[in-house]
């Protein structure tokens, strides 16, 4: 469990590692941005202003060709003219093709990524850890069956399985009321947070097997320990032993895996929204997809900026994972990616 030694190791590793500090700063910033989105965002992320569409981010002027119909010598003609589009200081990251503020979309997109990443990981752990612990502790038929299920499960790539399951089950999403709006602290916004339920369930179901594998491995090595044998001799039931002795000692690698999984699931979520298999439009992957059609016509920022947001979040979480792994258990190999 979290002992004084663990905390000492964490602190020591943190002091020595610049990367760990960067990781922590990134992760805390993203959590704060996602939580306080209504106060960070400058606009309603879904409000369309067609007269302000495709504005470049601050610091970049773009030339674009605009066609319009004009009366020339009494006839209507289509005129193509090259116009210079200058950024509007009101839209720091510019606007998308429908004139929605990119900065506010990025801020609200953090909620989707983080919520799916964390909830998906918790679901995967809630399924995988008990199954893995029981299988590793009892061995025998349960264990054999689990390992075969894990083998079959691993044979399907996460993304392919997720796409197939969402294709089958539909794209259910749930409106989650913003606590600040409910408390009357922030103005009402339509669709301020839509949780793609199917995506959470599917990424959880697709990734549980990594947790089961790690938990099983730990239980296998812990079941032979003296203190486990001692409590069995004292008459403790198997479930008590698993809960009181095996789980606390297996928790470190599970936490490290959990961190890696949050990053992997954020990447998976962005892939799913990119392919149109999410239930929400406030997602970084969705914005990359909608910006893709404008890449060849010069509006590079609609696709680029959300990608940097994903990259920074995932880098932050991976750095945090590296720090935890180095501090908690130098012996754990990095395993369990899924993108």
């Amino acid at each position: 469990m979290v002992s004084a030694r663990v905390i000492r190791n964490l602190k020591k590793e943190f002091r020595n590692s610049a990367l760990a500090k960067i990781g922590l700063v990134l992760v805390i910033s993203i959590i704060l941005i996602a939580t306080f989105a209504p106060f960070v965002a400058t606009h309603d992320p879904t409000a369309q202003q067609l007269d302000q569409s495709q504005l470049p981010p601050i610091g970049f002027s773009e030339t674009a060709e605009r066609t319009s119909s004009q009366m020339v010598d009494g006839e209507i003609q289509t005129v193509t003219e090259t116009v210079e589009i200058t950024p509007d200081p009101d839209h720091v990251f510019g606007t998308d093709s429908l004139g929605r503020d990119m900065f506010s979309r990025i801020v609200y997109g953090a909620r989707t990524s983080l919520a799916v990443g964390v909830l998906g990981t918790l679901l995967a752990a809630a399924v995988g850890v008990p199954v893995g612990l029981l299988a590793g502790y009892h061995r025998g038929t349960v264990d054999d069956a689990l390992m075969r299920v894990a083998d079959v499960s691993l044979a399907f790539p996460s993304l392919v399985l997720a796409v197939a399951l969402i294709g089958l089950w539909g794209r259910a999403a749930m409106d989650v009321p913003d606590p600040f709006v409910v408390a009357g602290l922030a103005p009402e916004m339509p669709e301020s947070f839509v949780l793609p339920i199917t995506v959470v369930i599917v990424v959880g179901l697709v990734n549980w097997v990594w947790f089961a594998r790690v938990a099983r491995g730990e239980a296998l090595s812990l079941r032979g320990q003296e203190y486990v044998k001692a409590s069995r001799a004292l008459g403790a039931s198997d479930n008590t032993i698993i809960l009181r002795h095996v789980l606390p000692n297996a928790i470190t690698p599970i936490i490290v895996l959990g961190t890696v999984q949050v990053a992997a699931i954020i990447l998976l979520e962005s892939s799913l929204s990119f392919l149109g298999f999410s239930g929400t439009t406030l997602s970084w992957g969705f914005d990359i997809a909608q910006g893709r059609d404008y890449v060849s016509s010069g509006q590079w920022w609609i696709s680029s900026i959300p990608g940097f947001a994903i990259m920074l979040s995932v880098i932050g979480i991976n750095l945090l994972g590296d720090w935890l792994r180095d501090a908690l258990d130098p012996g754990i190999e990095g395993e369990g990616g899924a993108a």
Partner: protein, 330 residues
């Protein structure tokens, strides 16, 4: 256990997993809302028509008969018929498979060629600029969504500099090989092939490049601190020999296993990379068949993807057992 018995046991296990894959794929159809008849029948079909279709597709039979029939057909190489495309599934899936294999291999080559030297350099010059550079590069690589990287590559190399094609496959690698003996100019064909495959291969390969760099670096650091390396140094063996013959060889064994397990990620990545570059492979087929609710094609593609994964992992374990005979006795 002998090596032969190990390979046999592992192959039988693999066969069991393939059977599991097929069963899961068969079951998918029954957890789907809506009957498979809907995919075939016209919207205004009478109940009689629907019944006739059900009988035609064998859907009026008990489940275990349907399952048996499905397995029996698969063993004969029959994956069903796509009514939506009006084509046999087998021809469709295996027609698309080579493009995906080509892309995955090209990405692996990009990844392995860059990552192993980078990982070794990073470990042998620890805390020097090249180590920091490699660490940052690999951190960025495992954290970048490959579809976004693909779009950024298109933005820079295709839109700004106009040097690569961004969509489709052009010539396949077979054409390049044929041009060596045939009448087509070799260099021209090779360039035409590279124009299409370079960007998707980089987009797909970057994650693996980063992952293998990280694994190689930490593995090398681990090996170089071991007793046998110090003994070899004390004996006066040249550094290059110690690094590449001894340490790297021991590092690569676990790297190969992780790569086998990550093959799923490679195929999953190929699906989305294909979507970005309109690469006509299995990935685009999977997405198309989901969007058109073309279940036989989806099922066929999933079976081929799952089976390839199992096949490669059995091969990896065999290579592993060959390189490290201790595995056989575990």
């Amino acid at each position: 256990m002998s090596f032969g018995r190990f390979v046999l046991k592992r192959s039988l296990q693999g066969l069991g997993v393939v059977w599991g894959v097929v069963t899961v794929v068969f079951a998918l159809r029954f957890v789907t809302p809506g009957s498979p008849i809907n995919a075939v029948a016209p919207l205004d079909a009478t109940p009689e028509t629907r019944q006739a279709i059900a009988a035609e597709l064998g859907l009026d039979q008990p489940l275990y008969i349907q399952y048996g029939q499905y397995l029996f057909n698969l063993l004969q190489g029959d994956m069903g018929f796509s009514y939506i495309r009006g084509q046999e599934v087998v021809g469709l899936v295996f027609g698309r498979l080579p493009a995906t294999v080509e892309l995955a291999l090209a990405a692996s080559i990009v990844a392995i060629a860059l990552s192993i030297p980078l990982g070794v350099l990073s470990a042998t010059r620890r805390n020097e600029p090249i180590d920091y550079g490699a660490t940052l590069l690999s951190l960025g690589g495992i954290s970048t969504p490959n579809f976004w990287l693909g779009i950024m590559l298109i933005l820079v190399f295709a839109v700004e500099f106009n040097v690569f094609n961004t969509s489709g496959r052009g010539v396949d690698v077979g054409d390049v090989a044929l041009s060596l003996v045939g009448s087509e100019p070799f260099i021209g064909t090779l360039l035409a092939w590279l124009a299409y495959i370079t960007l998707p291969a980089i987009a797909l390969g970057t994650y693996f490049m980063a992952l293998i760099t990280r694994l190689t670096r930490s593995g090398m650091l681990d090996e170089l601190s071991k007793g046998y390396v110090q003994a070899a140094r004390a004996k006066g063996l040249p550094q290059t020999l110690i690094r590449y013959k001894h340490a790297l060889r021991n590092t690569l064994i676990p790297v190969i296993t992780v790569l086998g397990l990550q093959l799923g990620t490679l195929i999953g990545g190929a699906v989305i990379t294909e979507a970005v570059f309109s690469w006509p492979g299995l990935g685009t087929l999977v997405i198309e068949s989901i969007n058109r609710r073309d279940w036989p094609v989806l099922q066929g593609s999933l079976i081929v993807i799952g089976t390839s994964f199992v096949l490669v992992n059995v091969l990896v374990d065999t290579v592993y057992a060959y390189l490290d005979p201790q595995v056989v006795n575990d």
